[in-house]
């Protein structure tokens, strides 16, 4: 029994030593280069009717948790046409990283979809990848009669671009992963 307690004491002492001597170093905070914090949808009236450029945006600088995102809606002119251009940024990095370029490089593997609850509002593609399928970084947005609602912008990674309806902007059969899905309020006056 004496031997037992002495071995036990030695073990315990060596463990305490190990533990107190190895406090863990600070972890390296991962560089979240894949993170998308910001979606800017810039709408320029074409032809220019003097109503000015509208920027719809969704900004969530601290990622999935933390503070709620900042959503900036906009007011559009009724019965008008806008040239739409999407910009994706990672503003958690400094300087901000432009994710739009990543999407452009892998445009066969990406497609944006636009859904809206605003009556008469329609978005059509004006760009395409090497296979002739739409991407959605450049679009044309048309408005109808005055109404208000929500515009949903979805970015799918590895969608089935040749599935039924997908090239026309219908997300139903697209599959793939959702990289972005944001709702932005829109008012058509």
């Amino acid at each position: 029994m004496y031997r037992f307690t002495s071995i036990s004491a030695i073990l315990l002492a060596s463990f305490t030593l190990i533990l107190t001597s190895c406090d863990k170093d600070d972890p390296i905070i991962p560089n979240e280069e894949e993170l998308i914090t910001t979606v800017n949808y810039t709408l320029t009236p074409t032809p220019d009717n003097g109503s000015g450029v509208v920027v719809l945006s969704f900004i969530d600088l601290d990622g999935d948790g933390g503070n709620d995102p900042v959503i900036v809606g906009g007011t559009l002119q009724a019965n008008s046409q806008y040239t739409g251009s999407l910009e994706l940024l990672n503003e958690a990095e400094s300087p901000a990283e432009n994710i739009t370029e990543e999407i452009q490089e892998e445009d066969e593997d990406h497609q944006f979809f636009f859904e809206s609850t605003v009556e008469g509002l329609q978005v059509s593609y004006s760009d395409m990848d090497d296979d002739g399928k739409p991407v959605g970084l450049s679009t044309v947005l048309t408005t109808g009669a005055p109404a208000s609602g929500v515009l949903t912008i979805i970015l799918k990674h590895e969608p089935m671009k040749s599935a039924a309806g997908v090239a026309d902007g219908d997300v139903t059969n697209a599959q793939g992963e959702t990289d972005i899905q944001v709702n932005i309020p829109v008012d058509v006056q």
Partner: protein, 778 residues
Amino acid sequence: MYSKVLQWGLILLIPFFCQLLTAQDCDIIVQGRVVDEASQLPLSYVNVYLQETGDGAATDDDGQFSFSGVCSGHYHMIFSHIGCEDYKIHIDLEKDTVININLGHTETSLGTVVIQGQKNNVGTQPNLSVNRKKIEDSNNQNLSGLIENEAGVHLIKNGSGISKPVVQGMYGNRLTILNNGVAQSGQQWGNDHSPEIDPFAADNITIIKGASAIEYNGGNLGSVILVEPKRISREPHLHGQVNYSYETNGRGNNINARLEKYSSKLAWRLNGTLRKYGDRSTADYFLNNTGLQEANLALQLEKSWNENLFIDFYASTFNNKLGVLRGAHVSSPDEIQQAFSQSIPFFTEPNFSYGVDAPRQHVTHQLVKLKAKYYKSPKAIIELVLAGQLNDREEFDIRRSGRSDIPALSLKQYTFNTELTFTKYFDSEWKFKTGNQNIITDNTNNPDTGILPLIPDYISWESGWFATLSKKIKSTQIKSGLRFDYENQKALTISNTIPKEIVRYNNQFFNVSGLLAIEVDITDKQSVSINTGLSMRNPEVNELYSNGLHQGVSGIEEGDINLKSELAHKNTLEYKWLPSPSFSVSALGYHQRFKDYIYLSPQDEIRPTIRGSFPVFKYEQTDANIYGFDFATQFTINDAFVGLLKYSYLKGDDVKNDVPLVFMPPISFYGSLVYATHGPIKISSLVKLDNLEFEVNSKYVFQQTHLLAEQDFAPTPDAYSLLGFKVSTNILYTSLKLRLFLKADNVLNVRYRDYLNRQRYFADDVGASYTIGVNIKF
């Protein structure tokens, strides 16, 4: 406590005539008697086979057998019996010899554990075990698959390749798995993490369900799974075995080889396993990207320094790479809904492939263990175990810009274990055991993932002390125990403020556990045991500090830094009845009451993120009740048919909020009937078939109805039943012995989904599968 059967102490070699015989004599008589170990009743129809001569015999009604005209020399004798594991001994024949064998008949092989071996050494806990024969005959299975059909055991799966055991509703952090006596480290927190153990390196898998799991560390709440190799047989020759099997579903190949040799200087055993599977298929379609590749190696060394000191060294490496169904990878709740309404999962392709692409897991686990057992006296034993483990887990996701080759999760976990125990047998059948266990865990995330870690870096120190005291008074055995645990956790979390900061936490927990168990032999053939135990488990790092989007479950998971230890009170009542070697019954009821049960609770919040809006889950505490009933019976008819029935019932409730507990196993039922032929069947003058067995088995799993609709994304799957067949035989060709089996699982190619398989939201479970396996021992 396992397989006392296989120990040499049970064999009596009694010389009959003391006259000297020359080496050339060929008139030796070898005879003996085989009895059932538990009941001590004679066993008839045991096949006895003298390997070197190829002679076979069967025992008569009194368990007697005999060989005459045997030449002197070295022999191996194999005993096989329906429902038993083959038992092999080595004998040096010089003169007429009598051999008496105790065969572990009903108990070790079929899970209905009756009173075990020498009772003094055994706790009063109900347990179940899987033996080597079953491991060899199921070499297409992983560890969890081997114990799947035991009463009270269920599996949580994530597709076909990932599964973790659930014992009486306890899993993950609440269930300890001891591999070779060492608490398996790794990422117990994840439901999509399998135990990183090669079952082929083991000879016995024992499931302890009673409250006496108190001697084992690792925060278990009443159940422990022991995975153990047996001691190397004291055989002077090189022995080994090769197992190979091919499974049609997944086109899987499994090969395992084992070599061992005993010498008084050093005994060694080497065990290696290779597995490769491609896409599995359901009744209707391929489950793309569900392949698996695995390579394992284990070395076991044993040395008796002298009569009092026994040293045992074990080193193993486990390496696997496995794919996760591509169509089960979702990134928004809408996609789950959409996937569930699909009859065939997204990304299903018509072609089979062995390829393993993202999403995939790559896991390696290394273990080194040194154990010393010192007999201070025959009645005072000191054991010391030192062990180190390294668990390296990488999970790859589908990512942009070629980042699919960069793991989305990459953890390295070092664990150091020490254990020191002291056992003392006193006069008048008192036994005392005490010990100390320490575990240091050091977990580090790889920052190159480019993703904030779900589990923070941490270092923890666990230290536990226990003492148990047992006493046998006539037909009653009493065991009591106490355990104290201390845990210190130092976690380094990354905040989600801007800029990100490192926040250090330092927690200390003290836990107390206690148990009282009584086993009474009502008659020779019946016993009742009562266990009552109180145990505490402190919150683990994942429960305290998880923070972020868990893609696999499409939800945001948040830990709670204010969680405290949970307290469980478990009672079990077991009744065992063994009227004869051909019939046994075991029934076990249990009730476990939790105070501050830690669980992942769905919140009334949908949080908007740039990837869509996700439901929020938070670790919370409540009071819970888990109770159930396990039943098993085995019967032999005419020494030819062996029937087996197992039934498990379990129910879990959150008593504070008056709702069912989620993720509790549904009621299940398993039955099998084996027909075995008697004695060797002669095919030709050189070839004989021995132990030819035909088996039909069936499993029925009920629908989980004890759940509210709002507690799940989708309705719980319907009840299902699976049918299986198996034919196995030993083929004796001169002195070579070969074992062959053919197995058919889910023969009717049933389309089904299992409640505990997380892939059920997306795809059916695997369809029909046929396996052919061969085993050669030498």
